[in-house]
Symmetry: C2
């Protein structure tokens, strides 16, 4: 299948590598492909140059966001939360009629925010939107012809594609969205990744809780210590 | 041990009944004891009159918030989130030097909010504070002489005191707070309730994530269907 991943960060790379391994034709979108390929330094999260990643993963095609979206039959959004609505809106035509799986957290990266959250690694960004809206709903409103599904966001970005790396894989993946077929496509992808416990939370409004879980997820990670993989399971 | 529970709702009653069963001397606080005892109708959540509950649980003593706090060596806050800071501040003297375990969610019960969240049972209230602050931190700032611990809030209020009712009890209870002794008291209480997996998330700032998890908790509950008990477990 032709799958487009929008974004070149650590989360996007996990999907790119796994989807290529699963035999899909992978199209990656970035704002400015030349600039992405020219980068030689790690990004803010310590992720190495994308050019090096591409060299290790032959066959991956790099495009602009719009061109990648045009190639994809299914599209995964890994664009930073605060840039996502603008970048996706610019590719609205190429995304029309397609399923878009969004896993972004709408973090506000503003050092001047009134109440930064101190963490072992500096300050925790706040969320915008939060509580009375979600990024996924904003994207759906901006792209009414696209079928938006929120997924992946409540699990670690590296174990989303390798759930068995955490406690044998017995934890829970959530998803939410308005379109049943788009959610089934997402379930099929998750099943191919190895997920066995997938819980449909219903309409896209449930993305609020999924995005707002980000702070609890971070706190659990801080408590367990850097490098400890974990995931949450709904015991019932 | 003398334990005070502030509040008479469903969550408070679960603690009252369990603590009495465990042999503690239980003191319950309410705004106006006479008014609480005079009520003959169920509350908004369908919880029956407190007078009936007291009749089934002999030995429980009902006081004002301040008098209950004065009697308790350990205090549990079950006052509605939007009233908690004001009500607790009025009992600051009686709470000084004591551990206060807070499990309230700071829901805003305002039908005029701009973006109510539709749910199977009406609209979902928003949270205030949210994201850049938490109710637990507000309470700690209002009561600097009290040792505030956030706990219980991420699990169902009826199974908090009976964790084995959910999947044999193998799920995770979180807590956060600034004082190590207060957290140890909380761990001891949770252990008596039957909790085996208790994860200390560190300083009270982690209460933000615990309170903001409320929306995901609700969404999971809606997805599983009314009456299905559940809890989250950190798989690691």
């Amino acid at each position: 299948m032709k799958i487009a991943i929008l974004g070149t960060g650590g989360g996007a790379r996990a999907h790119i590598a796994k989807l290529a391994e699963l035999g899909h034709e992978v199209h990656v979108g970035t704002r400015d492909p030349e600039a992405t390929l020219a980068r030689t330094e790690p990004d803010l999260m310590g992720t190495g140059p994308f050019k090096d990643f591409l060299a290790e993963h032959p066959g991956i095609q790099l495009h602009t966001f719009a061109d990648a979206a045009a190639h994809g039959e299914l599209v995964i959004n890994g664009i930073d939360g605060h840039n996502a609505v603008a970048a996706l809106s610019a590719a609205a035509e190429q995304l029309a009629g397609k399923t878009l799986i969004d896993y972004a957290v709408p973090y506000v990266y503003n050092p001047d925010i009134a109440h930064p959250w101190p963490t072992p690694w500096g300050v925790m960004p706040t969320l915008d939107p939060c509580d009375s809206d979600s990024l996924a709903e904003q994207i759906q409103r901006a792209l009414p012809a696209t079928r938006v599904v929120k997924a992946f966001v409540t699990q670690e970005q590296d174990t989303v594609v390798a759930p068995r790396a955490v406690g044998g894989g017995d934890h829970t993946m959530f998803l939410a969205g308005e379109d049943a077929d788009a959610k089934q496509q997402t379930v099929d992808l998750l099943t191919a990744y190895g997920w066995r416990d997938i819980l449909d939370l219903g309409p896209l409004v449930a993305a609020r809780g999924m995005e707002m879980y980000a702070h609890l997820h971070s706190a659990i990670g801080f408590a367990l210590g850097f490098g400890t993989h974990f995931g949450i399971k709904v015991i019932r």
